[in-house]
Symmetry: D2
Subunit: 137 residues, 4 copies
């Protein structure tokens, strides 16, 4: 049941997101897809603030993005997120940004790691979180 494992997040484009080209500034898609990943993980019972207080952080190690069509002010966007790989201390997401008319605007592969918040060294994902993630892989 692929459908249930894909998470959809919706957002609206505001002036803050656009630039003088009249479209969404490229770096802001990285903000958008992080909001989507955050809500995706909140769904399986994970909260960034809570983990941060426990000394764990998630960081992005690498991204590959392609930008296909521009989004504009007031556009409603839909972000689809899938967990596509899960290791002990790392996990990869596939994320796609669609317009309200279902045009693919932007597509990305995001490689994340779980680190100790002080040393920034890799740490195994807490068991509940690993189990939660397995359930959506």
């Amino acid at each position: 049941m692929t459908e249930t494992k894909e998470h959809t997040y919706k957002l609206r484009v505001y002036y803050e997101d656009t630039d003088a080209q009249g479209v969404v500034y490229y770096a802001n898609y990285l903000k958008f897809i992080e909001r989507a990943r955050t809500e995706f993980l909140r769904n399986i019972g994970y909260q960034q603030e809570k983990l941060l207080n426990e000394g764990l952080i998630f960081v992005v190690n690498g991204i590959q993005m392609s930008f296909r069509k521009p989004a504009k002010l007031d556009d409603g966007l839909k972000i689809k997120t899938r967990l596509i790989k899960l290791g002990k201390a790392s996990f990869h997401f596939d994320q796609e940004v669609f317009s309200e008319e279902n045009f693919l605007l932007c597509k990305g592969l995001v490689r994340c790691a779980c680190l100790d918040s002080k040393s920034f060294k890799p740490v195994a994902l807490p068991k509940e979180l690993l189990d939660g993630m397995r359930s959506i892989l």
Copy 2:
């Protein structure tokens, strides 16, 4: 009925909004309250993208903000917006940002103007919009 004239907008704090002090970066409250004003105006039938295409823009002439308590990662915030003054080509908002526990975090007075998008000179608000705004004053 003051209640119906006050608009409430909700948002979540993401990593992008925070800084190394562990709290929301002060400039980002200006983004938050603009999102709230945008949705407030959308409610009375106004869309920034549409106006921009008609050659009109809204700009902020001045702000007065006080920052009282910090907001943190993952916090849910509530923004209350009221139109408090309406002129031919200008309008003022009173905006307050609350935590989920209803603590006042930040409070602002925002003075806006309607301008021609090319010349940046003041222009009277379109009649429907002026009427719409009167209804919520």
Copy 3:
């Protein structure tokens, strides 16, 4: 000797700073003037990262800004900063943003406080810093 007590900081406007109106987005002036305050304080031997590690942070309690003329992509801006008030745990700045042609674009009064980085309670400024600030008041 007023001249020596006024600090000038220069910056360039990039796409990231602009919005779909083709001008600098209003919240970004708060970023610009914070860069200027940071360099102003660095000049008197103060570094935010160092203080943060000592458990002290500076926060903005309040701002009053007026936005007069827009800045555009590629513009070179000049920010003039003066310390105008100095208390035990608080200090106020007057800041002005000018275009390369010396037009005043934006003007602000910024009220800052020194806080404990954990409790967010007011703390007296460290003596050397207070002395350094007195020298530029």
Copy 4:
């Protein structure tokens, strides 16, 4: 003479660039490397504002980034930019972000295209610009 064809841009990390993990937020590296590309192109006589007024824009079609070490508040960063491929309406950059101690923090490949600013369709680079770019390839 590789040295002369590689452009170096320096910047300082401010609070605006950091997040609650205490380090530079990942999306902000995309801002940093765009500042570097902009100055790189300014060096060969190209200005984004001027081109925008002539109806041309540069957009990023795709990026591949790896984030290796975190940068912190007050850090001085150095960005090295090289043009590695040049087509009629497209060009690729290789960009690296270094700490003041010359640690590689982040590395990216950026694919850009030249578009018509209204239609967002690919357009050949203006001849002078193409010649200028050839000189640094």
